[in-house]
């Protein structure tokens, strides 16, 4: 607990994982689901935890609202110790942390309106106050015409909107998202992510989400942590991680979304060393992202490059690009020196054999 300081100041993290270990009691040899995880989740932002299935991200999320218990270490939520909370304290904490789920987990025999009212009924909110609150929430997620439908009559995206409205019912300060878009098609995913972003901005809600899709991180997360085999292998601002990934797992997650995967016909011809034409990846980040670098390589160095693959996109409101080019044999050193002088990051992927 912060000694006597005022309630969660903006710069104070909303959630702190401090040296958290989780061991499944019945697993042979004490397999660690989480192995000395420390992570700060900034208040008011959207933080993504990305990992493969079984990496421990789901366990990490469930520690925040006490659905799982740490084996050792400490989880602090909104300045309160979530690891020690029991009974009434724990239930109060849970009301301050809404949760949405991959498979929505809506009650089939309650209408949209009644599903959203459930957390309020549980919290003991007077009936007279439940109605208006639920109406506002239904409006917020854009489901007013469907208020009296049952979940079975809704599409996946609509169900998740109900899930979001329900999670917001008790006016939480934290929203936990458990693969909330993993069961949705790409278009619906975009719509749901946009809704989460709006909620984050308008309500100042801290969102902690787990996902296995880097596209989700790219689209809405300001911060990201990469988890692998129960350990956080890399964490930081999304832009920085995208621009300069360090860990192999991060790179493999990124290859799917940032155009860093080589087309097959090049990948098959590539050899690690050689004297043939070099394959070079250039990462454009920050204020250099939109510079006409290739044409300057041509005009200033007299080197002709051919583009193999590339993308440019926006991460956290800033442009970010990746370009893979083929350079004529013998020009690699000069081109790299030129690019580094421009503060651009490069990576030699190999040579065409």
């Amino acid at each position: 607990m912060t000694n006597g300081s005022p309630k969660t100041a903006p710069e104070q993290p909303a959630i702190v994982f401090d040296d958290v270990v989780k061991v499944w009691p019945n697993s042979s040899g004490g397999a660690k689901a989480l192995d000395r995880v420390s992570l700060n989740v900034p208040a008011g932002g959207i933080t993504g935890v990305i990992g493969r299935s079984g990496a421990g991200k789901s366990t990490l999320l469930r520690l925040v609202n006490g659905l799982e218990r740490v084996t050792s270490g400490r989880v602090e939520v909104l300045g309160r110790d979530a690891t020690a909370a029991r009974g009434r304290d724990l239930r109060a904490l849970r009301r301050d942390a809404g949760m949405i789920f991959q498979h929505f987990n809506l009650l089939a025999n309650r209408t949209v309106r009644a599903n959203i009212a459930l957390p309020l009924e549980i919290a003991g909110t007077p009936r007279s106050r439940i109605g208006p609150r639920v109406d506002r929430l239904i409006d917020l997620v854009g489901l007013t015409p469907l208020a009296d439908r049952y979940p079975a009559q809704l599409s996946g995206g609509q169900k998740q909107r109900v899930g979001i409205a329900r999670a917001l019912a008790t006016e939480p300060k934290v929203l936990l998202s458990d693969e909330a878009t993993s069961a949705l098609d790409p278009e619906t995913t975009q719509a749901v992510l946009a809704l989460l972003r709006d909620i984050n901005r308008e309500l100042g809600l801290t969102i902690l989400l787990i996902t296995h899709e880097m596209a989700v991180v790219r689209d809405i997360c300001q911060h990201v942590a990469v988890i692998e085999a129960g350990r956080i292998v890399e964490a930081g601002e999304t832009y920085g991680i995208f621009a300069n990934p360090q860990h192999a797992v991060t790179k493999s997650f990124l290859s799917g979304v940032t155009g860093t995967a080589l087309p097959g016909f090049i990948a098959r011809r590539i050899v690690p060393d050689g004297t043939g034409p070099a394959i070079l990846r250039i990462t454009f980040a920050g204020e250099r992202a939109t510079d006409p670098v290739l044409s300057r390589i041509g005009s200033e160095l007299g080197v002709e490059t051919s583009i193999l693959s590339g993308t440019i996109e926006e991460i956290d409101g800033r442009p970010f690009g990746n370009l893979t080019v083929e350079l004529p044999a013998g020009t690699l050193d000069r081109v790299q020196a030129f690019l580094h002088a421009q503060n651009l990051r490069t990576e030699v992927l190999g040579h065409v054999g």
Binding site: N65, M99, A108, A123
Partner: protein, 224 residues
Amino acid sequence: MSANLIALLWEATLQTLYMVAVSGLLGTVIGLPLGVFLATSKRGELLSAPAVNAVLGLIVNATRSIPFIILVVAIIPFTRLIAGTSIGTTAAIVPLTLAAAPFIARIVETAIREVDGGLIEAARAMGATPHQIIRKVLLPEALPGIALGLTLAMVSLIGYSAMVGAVGGEGLGDLGIRYGYQRFMPDVMLAVVVILIVLVQGVQSLGEAIARRLDHRAAKDRGL
């Protein structure tokens, strides 16, 4: 068939309905909470009490193992304790209830275990107490299954109620045995069987209709 016999059939039908209704109701009063407890008290579940769960499970199984006709006779002292008498239609309600309760408990347990575990997790994440989860999530979501299960229990009770003639309980079964079989009046036997068929059909149809109304799990044609 004489007017006399028709009066007898009518009376016997009412007696059967009385026995089935009262024992069904009492069986539900006992079986419903018992089933809820059985479904939520294994190790690591909401009301985790594995020892009590095991003992109750054993008692339920033991009761269900005893053939009904033996149960009726075996518990005569208990019946006398509860009903003040061990013979007659009202006394017959005691063994019927005792047979129905564990049956209903298992039906309720099964229906509750069918509820998606994700809903329990969602309710816990909302800060619900175990009691609230049972009342607001498990029971409402299991209700269609429970309604079908209770229908099954009622149909079984109609069958069981035919055996209580052994302890002087009346009703359709007893009428069929005494008149149709012992006095060899095939028209009475036939009438009894027809009425029983109609009763079972009626109970089954009603139960299914109620379950359908309660069940919103599948998208129904509501002019979408």
